[in-house]
Each structure stands twice: as structure tokens, then as C-alpha cells.
């Protein structure tokens, strides 16, 4: 029986291992099932990575993101509907509730038709803005595909995006050229720290509404790299929302299209690889961090016994050792997490405000995790402190660890003795010279007593 159970568990684990770190139920919201065949490579890729795909029309009555108050799906992929809006079951509130419950969403837009106001208001909730008339298309007269868009210049050819900042891990880079036909541009608000661009339009790009005959130069809101082609939101609960400006880029046609930049040579697109990276990130196959064992104890040279591990109480000025184990999920397995160059994993020792903020150095590595550690002296301040690791970076799930400990003051017998402090030697010598002087005085006094009496008597 036990053997059977463990075998079952093994099978189950194996099945889990091949999946995203947060579940495999993927709902694809498609307008018509006829459209479905245009993305068959994407579907087969996703199924190959272990997702259970269900397809629903936004109009369908059976479509519901929740079941008994819980998420009915783990991930959501919304393709732009041809009709107006996403229907009564995908209101902005529903979608945001889904995000709040740790569901991940890819929302694809298209510049072919104008985007519905429901999607626009959904994006406004997360501080991502579409153009005013919601039907703008990005064109670029320098980076267009000469094969398919000789006239309109609305198929952008771009390199794969590098890291967002030098100190951020690059999850979407690679070789090859991306073809992005008819992109609906987004601009990001300045205030939200949760949104970040994945792929920006080149500097020579601009957006205009193709339905108007002449692009009005005076009401341009954003140009060049202010326009985002792909942008991402990672909310505080680490749920992810990705906005892809060009749904056509996911089509089979563009997965293996041959394109040619003006003045360049013919190449095949890297859309398929990019789509994999994008879906993998959004559905939490990459950029997912996990904290393993957290240990802290007094710094010692030798081994630490179990009793001395993670004590509840420290003393001020104790030499303390802290270590944390971190893993990163890479498609189907946990691998040791490596901090990008220029970035630091930091440990804070805080009581209200940090008394220490130290860089955690990688000191060890297991098969699935890196051990980061730091050694420091607890501050000269008693109270309730906590070890905190607060690591929030773009494209990586948020890490916030807090472990409370008490820091007590010296016990009365733990202070250094006076003679151990060389500065006190003078006063010790002073005290003992007073005592020695007193003894000498007593002796001389007693010795001199009869003499004084005799003197008095001899008068």
C-alpha cells in the first residue's frame, strides 16, 4: 500500500515538475473558434509545456473565472475580441479579482481594430494607457518588414529586448528578430512601481490612427521609445499581467515568417521563442523565486548544534550569522538563484528602521538553491528586532521575509571586568594606593601613639 502511494506521489511529482510553478489550468478567451486554428503552434507549444487549455468565447454564458469563490483557472490568455467589449463575465473588476487571487493574465491587443473600452478601463486600473481613440498603430519607417509591409510600414522588426536595467536579470533576450505586425501601443504611467516595459518601440517609431487619412501631428501623445509594444505588471502578490500589443505576432504565420529589414538580409523571425519566453514568464515558469531554509545563529567557528540554531533571543553586540537559501524556477525545475551583477540581495536587521543593511554574499550552493549569508554584530540597542530580506525586483516574484528576534542587554555579570579594560587601570591603581596608604597610615599611627603620649607626659 505504502509502495503504491509513494509511486503515485512520484508520478504526481513528475507531472508537477513539468509545469509552471503555479498551476496548469489555462483559459484562452477567443472570439470565434475559427480563429483558434491561426494560433495552433502556440497552443501545441503550451500543451507541450504541460498546460491544460480550455477555450471559451467571451460571449459564452458558461465562461466564469471563478468557481465557488475560488479561481477556476490558474492562467488566462485573452485575445482581442472582434466585437465590442469582453462580455459580462470578463468585466475589468472580474479580471482584477482574478489577478488579486494570484491568477496570471496575458492580454493581447491588436492594432487592426479599435480596442474595446472595457480593456482600456481595465488597463487604466493598472496605470497603463492606450491611445485616446484606442485604434492607433505603431509604424516605423526604418525598422519595418520589406516583405510584407512595403507600403504601410506597420510590421515592426525589432531585436529581442535586453535587460530593463543593467542590474535586472534579462528574461526575454536572445538571438533573432521579432516581427510585430500592427502593434497597439501602450504608454506606462509614472507612478506605479509595479509596471515595467518588456519591449519598447524603437526611437524612430510613432503611432497614428490608420482610419484617419492624415496623421494629426498636433495630438500625438507619445512617440519613439515612449511607446510600449509589450509591457508587464507584477502585482504585490506576484501575480502577473502582460500586455502584448500585437496579437498577430503569436500567429503561426509569424512564428516562422521570413522577413527582411530595409537594407538588411532575409531572416526568419524569433517570434516563437519570444512567445515562449513571454508566456513562460507570465505563467510563472521563469522569474519565480523561492526561499528555502533560513538560519541564524551566533557566529562560531565550528558546527552549530540544533539547540543553538535560530534562537529567539540575542544579546546586544553579539556576533551573529544569518543565511538564506534561494531558488529560482526555470521552466521545469528549481535552480540556484544568482543575483544579477550590479544588484544585491540585502539583509536588514530592523527595529522600526534598519540598524543594519548588509549585502548577502553567496557562500554555498546546493543542487537547487544558493545559500546567501552575512555576518554582523547586533547593534548596541536592545528591543524586538527582525531579520528582514526584502527583495523586490522587476520580473522577479517578490521576496519579503521577516523573522523576529529579541535582542536583550548585557546581564549584570556579562560586562567586562574593570581590569580587563586598560583605561580603568589608573583608577584601580588609585583605589589600591588609597587602601595601601590607609594601611600604612594605620601602622604608623599605632606606632607613633606611645611616643605622643610620652611627649605629653614629659611636659
Amino acid at each position: 500500500m505504502k509502495w503504491c502511494l509513494s509511486l503515485l506521489l512520484c508520478c504526481f511529482l513528475a507531472a508537477v515538475n513539468a509545469l509552471s510553478s503555479s498551476g496548469s489550468r489555462l483559459l484562452v478567451v477567443l472570439d470565434e473558434s475559427t480563429e483558434k486554428s491561426a494560433y495552433s503552434t502556440l497552443w501545441s507549444d503550451l500543451e507541450g509545456r504541460g498546460y491544460d487549455l480550455s477555450f471559451e468565447s467571451p460571449k459564452s454564458d458558461s465562461l466564469s473565472l471563478f468557481e465557488h469563490g475560488e479561481r477556476a483557472y490558474d492562467h488566462l490568455l485573452i485575445l482581442p475580441p472582434k466585437s465590442k467589449g469582453l462580455g459580462p463575465n470578463l468585466t475589468p473588476k472580474n479580471v482584477l479579482d482574478f489577478l488579486d487571487k494570484d491568477g496570471n493574465i496575458i492580454l493581447a491587443l491588436s492594432g487592426k481594430s479599435s480596442t474595446s473600452s472595457a480593456i482600456s478601463s481595465l488597463l487604466l486600473e493598472v496605470d497603463i494607457h492606450l491611445s485616446n481613440d484606442r485604434s492607433a498603430v505603431v509604424v516605423d519607417h526604418f525598422n519595418y518588414d520589406t516583405v510584407s509591409a512595403t507600403e504601410k510600414h506597420d510590421v515592426l522588426l525589432l531585436n529581442r529586448p535586453g535587460p530593463l536595467r543593467p542590474d535586472v536579470k534579462s528574461l526575454f533576450d536572445g538571438e533573432g528578430v521579432l516581427a510585430l505586425p500592427r502593434v497597439a501601443p501602450q504608454t506606462l504611467g509614472n507612478t506605479s512601481p509595479l509596471i515595467s516595459p518588456v519591449l519598447r518601440a524603437p526611437e524612430t517609431a510613432y503611432a497614428y490612427n490608420p482610419k484617419e487619412e492624415i496623421p494629426a501631428a498636433d495630438d500625438i501623445e507619445a512617440t519613439g521609445s515612449q511607446l510600449n509594444i509589450v509591457s508587464a505588471l507584477q502585482s504585490r502578490n506576484s501575480a502577473r499581467l502582460t500586455i502584448l500589443g500585437s496579437v498577430e505576432a503569436l500567429e503561426d504565420k509569424w512564428f516562422s515568417a521570413t522577413v527582411k529589414t530595409p537594407g538588411g538580409k532575409k531572416t526568419t523571425t524569433a517570434n516563437r521563442e519570444f512567445a515562449k519566453q513571454l508566456t513562460a514568464w507570465t505563467f510563472k515558469e521563469t522569474g519565480v523565486l523561492k526561499v528555502g531554509k533560513i538560519e541564524h545563529h551566533l557566529a562560531t567557528n565550528g558546527e552549530v548544534s540544533v539547540d543553538d540554531l535560530n534562537p529567539k533571543i540575542y544579546r546586544i553586540k553579539n556576533e551573529t550569522f544569518f543565511s538564506i537559501e534561494m531558488s529560482e524556477y526555470a521552466y521545469d525545475k528549481w535552480v540556484p538563484f544568482e543575483v544579477p551583477a550590479g544588484d544585491e540581495l540585502q539583509l536588514e536587521f530592523t527595529m522600526l528602521s534598519p540598524f543594519h543593511r548588509l549585502a548577502l554574499q553567496p557562500t554555498g550552493k546546493t543542487e537547487t538553491s544558493t545559500v546567501f549569508s552575512a555576518q554582523f554584530v547586533t547593534p548596541d540597542q536592545h528591543g524586538i528586532f527582525s531579520f528582514r530580506v526584502n527583495y523586490k525586483r522587476p520580473f522577479l516574484t517578490n521576496i519579503e521575509e521577516k523573522h523576529e528576534v529579541t535582542v536583550r542587554h548585557f546581564a549584570h555579570d556579562e560586562y567586562p571586568r574593570s581590569w580587563a579594560i586598560s583605561g580603568g587601570w589608573v583608577w584601580i591603581a588609585g583605589l589600591w594606593s588609597v587602601i595601601g596608604g590607609f594601611l600604612a597610615f594605620v601602622v604608623v599611627w599605632l606606632y607613633s601613639a606611645p611616643v605622643a603620649d610620652k611627649l605629653k607626659k614629659t611636659q
Binding site: R417, V426, W427, V434, I435, G437, F438, A449, Q459
Partner: protein
């Protein structure tokens, strides 16, 4: 100080520096003596008229002032860490000084009364000296030792 002068007149016969030893007492200063002369005179008077025990007390007190002063100076110059060591070292000197001063008051006071009583009763016994403060030298000395031991006990404990 007339009483002391009288008392000293008996013991100061051997003082070499006294220019004109008088039977009634030591030299008297002229009215227009210079400050240096006054100082020298006071010093001579002091050495000539003070009993040996009082001299001993005074020497000990000077020693305590020096020790205490040095400790305080060190504290000012080098900082007061460890503060308890400074407190106990310094207060030992101060406390010992106070106790010694008390002993001096009790013993030298009785000396003057003894001197006073000398011309009257002609007996310099300890019973005589008790008339002054009501405390004998032995009693005063025992109190001094008791107080000092308590002081030392506290100071040694406090200096850790």
C-alpha cells in the same frame, strides 16, 4: 590659635630656625612683615607646634588629595570609561579624605583641650582629653577604621 601656640611652647624648644626663643611662646611677627615672611613663619609655627599624629594625618590627607587629583585629571584627559572605575577610585580618595579629616578634627581638637587643661589640671591623661569632644582618641580611631573598611568594601565591589 593662641591655645596652640601655648601648647607648642613646650615642644618647640629645639626648633633651630626660631631666632629669638621666648619662654612665653615662639617668635611673634612684626606688623609690617612681608608675605614671604608670613608664609615662612606659618610653616615654622606649623612644624613646630603640630603633634606627630596630626602631622601624620596631614601628610596622609595631602597624599589623598594628590591621588584624587591625579585620578580626576586622568578622567578629564582620557575620558571616563569605565565610569564605575573612575567613580570608585575617585570617591575612595574623597571618602578617605573626609574620614581622615573627621579623625583629625576629633584628635587634634582634643589635643588643644589637653593643652588647655595642662596648665589647669597638670594631667595629660586620656580622661582629660575626653572633656573636649567627649570622644577618646581610641574611639575616634576605631570609628575611622570602621568607616574606612566599609568605604573600601564598597569601592572594591563597585570597581568590579
Amino acid at each position: 590659635m593662641p591655645a596652640k601656640r601655648h601648647a607648642a611652647s613646650t615642644t618647640s624648644a629645639a626648633t633651630p630656625s626660631t631666632p629669638t626663643p621666648l619662654s612665653s611662646g615662639p617668635t611673634t611677627l612684626k606688623t609690617n612683615a612681608s608675605p614671604a615672611e608670613i608664609a615662612v613663619h606659618v610653616w615654622h609655627q606649623y612644624t613646630a607646634t603640630t603633634s606627630q599624629r596630626t602631622l601624620l594625618l596631614d601628610a596622609f590627607m595631602v597624599f589623598l588629595v594628590l591621588v584624587g587629583g591625579l585620578q580626576f585629571l586622568y578622567c578629564v584627559l582620557a575620558g571616563n570609561y569605565p565610569f564605575n572605575a573612575f567613580l570608585s577610585g575617585f570617591s575612595a580618595a574623597v571618602g578617605q579624605f573626609v574620614l581622615t579629616a573627621s579623625l583629625r578634627m576629633q584628635t587634634s581638637d582634643s589635643g588643644s583641650t589637653a593643652a588647655k587643661s595642662n596648665p589647669k589640671g597638670k594631667t595629660a591623661s586620656t580622661e582629660d582629653s575626653e572633656q573636649g569632644t567627649g570622644i577618646s582618641h581610641e574611639r575616634a580611631f576605631a570609628d575611622f577604621i570602621f568607616g574606612s573598611l566599609i568605604l573600601h568594601f564598597f569601592c572594591i565591589n563597585f570597581i568590579n
